[in-house]
């Protein structure tokens, strides 16, 4: 093992000079170029950018699904080499195991002894206490994403990686999910990287917003969301930040 001993002063997540290209039929497509940022414990980072700018690729690198061409990802000072439960991912698409019930999905891979109780408590928290024995195909899209959230949170990750998790939900369900996410995050204090297309969603959830530019994805702008919670979507400060994000998405 080449692992550095964990460093308590290091940020929860540090991304340093991350660069990634894909070779598609011999042509090299630069997806990300020289991305650096860091994330403190308990901080919520919004990641915005036009479609195809590399948001999912960046998340996949942090999760350990891909390895970078250059640069590195550090979790508490330790380089990330493979996926692991301290970096929980809620995917853009439905990724629940269809052959397992809701409760079995949440408890997947946990030690049988303690799993049952932890799973029950987690399902309670996401409001699915009565749905443990349902199969994923029998519940709604919003409930599926709550199960996906419960499945990672039950492992108490230091970092939660969310890739447009609520994009497919209707506005009302999405607003409910925002409240749930905010309240869980304030109880459990994990760091979050939240990818979205929607400036309003970013301002609502994040402490800080990074805007990426397309092909290759580079950091274009960083905005601190210095608004008290719960956030009013029609407050002047909220609207101002939203406009600023729109403007930097539209630029170039």
């Amino acid at each position: 093992m080449t692992s550095v001993s964990p460093d308590n002063h290091a940020p929860c997540l540090a991304v340093e000079g991350l660069t990634k290209a894909f070779r598609v039929r011999g042509v090299l497509i630069k997806a990300l170029e020289d991305i650096s940022f860091s994330l403190a414990g308990g901080e919520v980072l919004g990641l915005l950018g036009p479609s195809g700018c590399g948001k999912t690729t960046l998340l996949n690198l942090v999760a350990g699904f891909l390895s970078p061409d250059a640069g590195r990802v550090l979790m508490r000072g330790r380089p990330v080499e493979r996926p692991g439960p301290e970096r929980g991912v809620v995917f853009q698409e439905d990724a629940l195991f269809p052959w397992l019930t809701v409760a079995e999905n949440v408890g997947f891979g946990l030690d049988a002894g303690q799993a049952r109780e932890r799973v029950a408590r987690m399902l309670e928290r996401v409001g699915l206490a009565d749905y443990g024995h349902y199969l994923p195909r029998a519940i709604s899209g919003g409930m599926k994403q709550r199960v996906a959230l419960a499945r990672v949170l039950v492992r108490e990750p230091a970092l939660l990686l969310m890739d447009e998790p609520f994009a497919a939900l209707d506005a009302q369900t999405r607003a409910g999910m925002h409240e749930l996410l905010i309240s869980l995050q304030q109880q459990l204090r994990q760091s979050v990287v939240f990818v979205t297309h929607d400036p309003e969603e970013a301002v609502k959830l994040a402490d800080r917003v990074l805007v990426l530019s397309p092909s290759p994805g580079r950091l274009r702008r960083e905005l601190v969301v210095d608004l008290p919670r719960p956030r009013q979507v029609d407050a002047p400060g909220f609207l101002h930040l939203k406009r600023a994000i729109h403007a930097s998405l539209a630029a170039g």
Partner: protein, 271 residues
């Protein structure tokens, strides 16, 4: 709140349709057979009547052994045949499932195996017979070999297709949730590939019966295929037809048994 437990229903299990539909074709065939022998469509030495065949079958199953040719042989024949099928099919599954899963996931393994296996697959099973007879002689080993080589291909191909088509998101999710390679294979890859595995196993079992009869046509003393061959030598068309019907029934029962056994697995029941 929606009442739990009533939410999943197999669309094929509507009672009336499910009970009647499977029997329409067999009943129709039987009806046509009665009719054909009633009006003497064919002479009875070519197509004996259902009653003749029924009597032959009765004696074959229930009469004391050696009270007449074929009498009372059923249990011994069925046992011999099922043992050969089980041996060959088991061997095929033991090799086909892991090799298929590996070659579905690893391009190198696929490249390594595919040319060789597809070449072998192109050889009609009957072409193996002479070689098998030379290698294994007449009897159990030859039949098991023929059954195993024939059942291997659908099982292998089903497993390879299943492993290849597993949603990569499931494997990523499994790794992200903290599982290592070996546990990923058992708890994600196999269940996710399960529908293909089941198809491959069922096709393999069907083919196993075809090759069972081929293997038993070569002069083994017992087994359902041997009965058919002996009956031909004695000109007993009723026994031949009886044998065909018994093989069809046992084949179908084994398929149902396999399916029922597999349904003990959640990953089969729930997909």
């Amino acid at each position: 709140m929606a009442s739990p437990g009533t939410n999943q229903r197999d669309p094929d299990s509507r009672p009336a349709t499910a009970l009647v539909l499977p029997w329409l074709l067999p009943a129709g065939g039987l009806g046509f057979w009665f009719l054909a022998s009633a009006v003497d469509l064919l002479p009875s030495y070519l197509l004996p009547s259902p009653a003749q065949v029924f009597h032959a079958a009765w004696a074959y199953v229930f009469a004391p052994v050696d009270s007449a040719p074929f009498a009372g042989r059923f249990l011994a024949d069925a046992k011999a045949s099922l043992g050969r099928v089980a041996g060959g099919f088991g061997l095929a599954a033991l090799l086909g499932l892991p090799l298929g899963l590996i070659s579905g996931r690893l391009a190198a393994m696929r490249l390594f195996l595919d040319t060789f296996l597809n070449g072998l697959r192109a050889v009609p099973g009957i072409a193996w017979l002479p070689l098998a007879l030379v290698w294994f002689g007449i009897g159990l080993k030859t039949t098991v070999f023929l059954v195993a080589q024939a059942a291997f291909f659908p099982i292998y191909l089903g497993a390879a297709a299943g492993a290849r088509q597993v949603n990569p998101l499931f494997l990523r999710a499994g790794a992200m949730l903290g599982l290592g390679r070996a546990r990923l294979v058992c708890t994600v890859l196999v269940p996710a590939a399960m529908p293909h595995l089941v198809t491959g196993l069922r096709l393999g079992l069907g083919i196993a019966f075809a090759y069972l009869v081929l293997g038993e046509l070569t002069g083994v003393p017992d087994g359902l295929g041997a009965v058919i061959m002996d009956a031909r030598l004695l000109g007993r068309v009723d026994i031949i037809i009886m044998g065909i019907i018994i093989i069809a029934a046992i084949g179908r029962l084994c398929d149902l048994g396999l399916l029922w056994g597999l349904k003990l697995l959640k990953s089969v029941r729930r997909q």
